[in-house]
Symmetry: D2
Subunit: 366 residues, 4 copies
């Protein structure tokens, strides 16, 4: 049951990196939502490899197929199964590395958990390729949220390889993020990030970073105390993305050294509407949306696959050895993770908006 997420907008993931396909079943999407493969494809295209100089050269086409749940370009209320076929699979390198777990990957933990029966080729079930399924589900959620509630979910690379973007507003994120290979809304930082990536790549190394995500127009009161908080469910969804190691909301880690008088967001009236003076809370109080923009930051570790020699153990013989992980790997996964982060936030918001009764079970009527 660990491959399903959500209660009302429920996503079930399947597929492996080097298996036949990667897919997802979305259960709970209301009937009547207009949905074309193109709606999903455009998000998938943002995640696919080989888009730029900073990403892997694999020529995966990744065309989505919608197998169920859509009839005459509308969702039917039935589960939506979507998948991409794995066409460009070269599993030759993995056999020889089977007994030498790659540092930073899940090779070892998966081996232990599944008694060695796991499909280890390309990381199998633990590959970043699995997130293609999240993006497909996210595309449906995004369209649902936009259509019914006018919610907009935006993300960009906030930090890469030690380069931090300046604080940007929603307009900059909307307009600038897709304009450079690193998907950073601050063009100056973007150039430095690209440099940092290329420098690491030329060293046979990789860099980490962080994605900032905001959600606009989320009505107040979305989320559920005490356990199904908006923060908790978003964080849980983020940790399903390989390489995520930190999740913050609003001021996040900055709260640690703050004082209450400065950190509390005072209430005020702006243009006749109840509002807060600041948004340190990142739009969430008590696990519920406040009506202010939701803002979060997700930190990714550097791509574990690097060209350099690393220490490992041959677990079949229990002797120390070294490994060089060749192949086509992004020196930084952050830019391609941007649509994945947007997708996960969209999935969680759709789930909670349905749970809060803000989205009807049928959109329009025949």
């Amino acid at each position: 049951m660990s491959n399903s997420l959500g209660r009302w907008f429920r996503v079930t993931s399947f597929g492996e990196s080097h298996g036949r396909c990667v897919g997802v079943v979305v259960d709970g999407c209301p009937a009547g939502l207009p949905l074309e493969p193109e709606d999903v494809q455009q998000e998938l295209d943002r995640r696919k490899p080989g888009q730029s100089s900073v990403s892997t050269g694999r020529a995966e086409d990744d065309r989505v197929e919608i197998l169920s749940g859509v009839f005459r370009s509308r969702t039917t209320g039935a589960p939506i199964c979507m998948l991409i076929w794995n066409l460009d699979r070269d599993s030759s390198g993995y056999e020889e590395r089977r007994w030498t777990p790659r540092p930073g990957h899940a090779d070892w933990t998966a081996h232990v958990r599944y008694g060695g029966f796991n499909d280890y080729r390309g990381g199998g079930r633990f590959s970043g390729r699995i997130t293609a399924g999240y993006v497909m589900a996210g595309a449906v959620a995004k369209k649902l949220l936009a259509s019914v509630l006018g919610v907009e979910v935006l993300a960009h690379s906030k930090e890469i390889g030690g380069v931090e973007a300046r604080d940007v507003g929603a307009n900059e994120m909307r307009n600038n993020a897709e304009g450079n290979p690193v998907r950073c809304a601050d063009p100056e930082a973007a150039r430095l990030m690209e440099e940092a990536i290329n420098e690491a790549a030329s060293d046979g190394d990789s860099v980490g970073g962080a994605v900032e995500c905001i959600a606009l127009n989320v009505p107040p009161g979305v989320g559920s105390p005490v356990f199904d908080t908006l923060e908790g469910d978003i964080a849980k969804a983020f940790y399903a993305i390989p390489a995520v190691k930190a999740v913050e909301f609003g001021l996040g880690k900055g709260y640690s050294s703050a004082r209450g008088s400065a950190a509390n967001d005072g209430y005020t009236i702006i243009n006749g509407r109840f509002s807060t003076e600041t948004n340190n809370a990142g739009g969430i109080l008590g696990g519920l949306s406040s009506g202010m923009p939701i803002r979060c930051l997700v930190t990714f570790k550097p791509t574990p696959s690097i060209g350099r020699s690393q220490r490992t153990v041959d677990v079949s013989k229990m002797v120390e050895t070294t490994i060089e992980v060749g192949g086509r790997h992004d020196p930084c996964i952050v830019p391609r993770a941007v649509p994945v982060v947007e997708g996960m936030v969209s999935v969680v918001l759709a789930d909670h908006a349905l749970g809060a009764g803000l989205i009807p079970r049928v959109l329009g009527g025949v």
Copy 2:
């Protein structure tokens, strides 16, 4: 359904700050675990107010009552209902503040979500007092983990009011954390933290901080890909604690500026056992425990209740006004949050260890 957490070791929370009680139902605990009220009480005592100069002066006694699921000092396999009665309730101040939401609290979002029907006294369902239930459940989980797997869960205050403790090992956490009022395992930092709290308190202000938690002896392979990762479930559990705004594992946010070659934990053999040279991953890879210590950091915002005047809005008249939140509030909740953090980690680990089949459904036999 938002008040339940977990699948195998399932916790259902109930109660309000100024209602009759705060309690919890634990469903799924194996039969045969020795359990006395004292096992739960000793954890509750660590959370209770009025323990020291840095915590509120309320004299809550908070004696646990076990209402079901235990027979002759052993768990029976039936749901365990536990509660504490609310005896020291003074709800007088809350009526006048009903229409002026306190900044940083969930007053406003709860009001919107529940149409004003929520019990607003003392924050009601959103009060930190709810975490007493988490601690009760955590005490059962902790005992279960220790008895069956030898797992030990330890936490301490890593940062308070800008003062950061030096890195400490498990022994220091075990021996030092309970030795000072701020529950910090670094005695020197502890003194400075205490000063920072007292200074803020004398200013009618509050400070935030962070709790570090480790879990020792967790067998490898605990957790579930892709959505029910150990990180995701622990993070989700943490965000159920009021005031949590950031959750990190291992190097956490530090990964953002790291390179793969430095961040990857190389594999090695130590004393004949497969191990990692470093533990930047915080004991979790691919959402599964690696066998290394699990290490995480939880950031808390400063107590929102401060003595100073803050801007708010009278929502019954929609006019701006100010509020001073009097009453007995901790100027820093981090020290009392330490057992709550331990409890939540214990609950999630017990849940996953049961899910992984590492804990039998019956312990011993009659």
Copy 3:
């Protein structure tokens, strides 16, 4: 997790027959529903023992206490914990019978499942007394359904000890069922049922029977294909009532020997409204309510506790022996099961009506 039922209106049961209490937590009830202890008490009173000549003489008072989730006589949206204390407990007889499982009871299966750690006194967790919690939850669900949707749930004893009531309409069920000790809406059958019970009782024996339940005014489209059907969820809820062994909807078992031409409910227009000519389907098609009355029949086995000598095995010595189950037991549990059946149907309907978005999350507003 096996002690929770439902997804949107979620019921968590706790307590044992001879423990401190029997209770329930209801999570997901909308905020703003007027709720007094009396609303729950009146349903509990229908279930309580000692109401008539055909029921046990135990003088349990069974006063409900609402511990959480209600504030100023309105639900708050927080979990509602309710319980009755076990006051009239005489556990003396159970110790000697510990190793000789009573035929027809769960003594043996519980012993195996819980390794002998289960609270065996009075059947412990498997006692019919647990259904008091179902009735409490059912009372809340019933009030919610009636207030928001005008749904009415009615039940009566359709068959007892081989005596079958004639088919009755909703009016008769509403007016007659509470007018006789066996709760049968057909007064003539009621007299014969009472005789059958008394005859069995004078033989130291017991009789089985069946409860018929209808739900009026359920809007069409409630339920969820393919697994969370209305029939499936109602049946599952019924099987949580000890002694239930068959569940039918509409024509039920009669469909087995019917032909399609006679069994299909033809569509027609009655008073300008779309309707069916007959209601063999019991108001459910494809797992969804059709708008016609929902009708189901639940068969109960005879009370397993009888005065006669029965064969059993002393499992501590593994030798065959006999047992006479004394004590105060109803010779037929069907009459007292009537409010339990109503409660379970109400809980499932409330759950699905919330899931279908037919009940708002906030009722009214402050």
Copy 4:
């Protein structure tokens, strides 16, 4: 979320009758189970149409494709996605019938629930064809249960069109059921059943019936009180099969007119093993398996699609009219439902056996 069933062995169904495919995702199957497409195909073949004179003439090939979760003929612990493509689709007849719901089908309730957006062709999501997915999941569960626990699940047609088979034992079910077109283990009754079906068919009519299912070698203690009982979960699973209207265990409806002294299964010792003298309880007490064979009976209504003219309403004009449902429909679905019933029982038993810790998470080891 209504298209998923189970907690540990979790089945998610997708697809429509006239869409691209019908499929299922199985999540939670342990790693290391040998699994070939042929294991699934042989069960699918029993369900497929066109097997005999009493079933529809459609030439669906229904070849299973396993898309994920199996690597080198072993399950990996990852979700197993399986599907059959819909190749023989003739949707031409459905357009004209769109506004005239077929009596006995879910056309009307689905239309209401999904606002007319549902895929109505061939019943869409409500078609019996969906059960192909259940059979695929059931095949995996069956193999898992047999391999690890030696559990055997058998079913046959107990009643068709008023003809009831005599009581048969496990051997007869195992040997005879597949030997005749109606899948009845009593050869004499089988002939009469076949006649009853053919007679109805020649009248343009259909007949109902009932499937009896037993499960052998289920260890005692499987199931979970109080809500996740074995009976409740099996019943819920059965009601996901279109046309099921009654579910009984053991003596079932017969308990209604029985006395406790006759109905209770006395305990005894047989060949040194604790046992019951009779098995009226159908192998389940208190929702837990007793170690005796599990026995249940599922009643199916007659196929709603009949050649005869039936009354209906044109809902686009709200006028009464008639409908003749042509096409290729089985005059009795009971024979083809036999493998579906076995599959559902297998799925529920696998789920509970995993939940009870009786099946390890990894089978064998590499």
